[in-house]
Symmetry: C2
Subunit: 220 residues, 2 copies
């Protein structure tokens, strides 16, 4: 695979309490074809929702103005920045010019809060999907939703599928396939419990309780 096109410029929002796998799934998919900018207010270490510290590479000021992709991950920390004017201004500004405006998991609520999903179909983590209506987006129960240049993924691990769908659009099916092979993405879940329907109501209730407790811990 000869890389004859310029590298993609991808701006990925960081924030305290993000779910790291929301970010690292698509970041890994894009990495061979992209300059990836991990963006926050400062370049101080960010602590994610399970306590892992990662290093931003850009600030809202230094991130390139014109991006191929602007991306928002989800996570328990998402709620705390839903009315943060700096975050929303960054997303609205880069989103107004980016080729693709994207998210995984509850990151779509951040896009919504920035006014970027009004009149668009979108998805989110299953537990957060209906909240998209607050931003005049139309929730869709699907792993990856493409509506014009808005591409949103479902919860956490959906970021891998999302990334491959978007990479295929940007660099072609061959690039996406070789990336899928390199990542050995030939999934084989040991249980059939990855959606509320397959998991059933008892497991859904337990998951909601654990997620609420985890969110509570982060708030302390």
């Amino acid at each position: 695979m000869k890389e004859t096109q310029p590298r993609l410029e991808i701006g990925m929002l960081l924030y305290p309490g993000l779910t790291l796998l929301d970010l690292i799934g698509p970041q890994t998919v894009f990495s061979w074809f992209s300059n990836i900018h991990l963006v926050w207010k400062t370049t101080d270490l960010i602590f994610t929702d399970t306590g892992i510290g990662i290093q931003p590479t850009s600030t809202f000021e230094t991130c390139p103005r014109d991006l191929d992709v602007v991306f928002a991950p989800g996570g328990f920390g998402q709620q705390a920045i839903m009315d943060d004017p700096e975050v929303l201004a960054f997303l609205a500004d880069r989103g107004s010019r980016a080729r693709y405006v994207t998210s995984v998991c509850s990151g779509s609520l951040l896009l919504g809060a920035a006014g970027l999903l009004k009149g668009y179909k979108a998805t989110s983590h299953w537990s957060a999907r209906e909240a998209l209506r607050m931003f005049e987006a139309e929730p869709v129960d699907a792993r990856v939703v493409v509506d014009r240049n808005r591409i949103t993924g479902g919860g956490v691990t959906a970021g891998i599928d999302f990334g491959l769908v978007l990479l295929a659009k940007l660099r072609g099916n061959e690039a996406a396939k070789l990336t899928q092979l390199a990542m050995e993405y030939d999934p084989d879940p040991p249980f059939d419990a990855g959606s509320p329907k397959s998991a059933g109501p008892a497991i859904v209730e337990q998951a909601m309780a654990v997620m609420a407790a985890e969110m509570g811990k982060l708030a302390r």
Copy 2:
């Protein structure tokens, strides 16, 4: 889900040039039930194979002596530490007492170099699997290989399947299912190209070339 058992103690090796998704897949799976120790020689920031900086939480000295799980991720940086006496001594020591000795991707070669896979069936990234024979391990073409208390996963994304298999052993199927649901792990790859067989020889050749180039970049 009431957490009535003590949290699992999980030691996950970090090193420069590791593949971050190898680590973050299982780390996310384990996170609700575990104290996770990200271990390296120092607690200075580690730069992974795509340049993302993450923060160790423990050193080889401060990591708990008795672990439920010792884990080695893979990545282009694996080769550079294959004869590092500190790394191998850490893995051999913790591995001698851990309930489970585990890896994802080319991390199994590190376990092998530490003498932990002699006489065991194991797997690795598809491109590295045959190299397990150097350490008297028996390579198996499977996504997750369980041989007594050695559990090894295939390449990169196999870490999610690996994590769920191991969590089910440690905390039961219910815990694994609610984690799978919370992570919305209901995969839907856009292509059938996640294994050498499904991708076909042309894509395999391209992937090998890109991986070699990426490894070369890291060495510079």
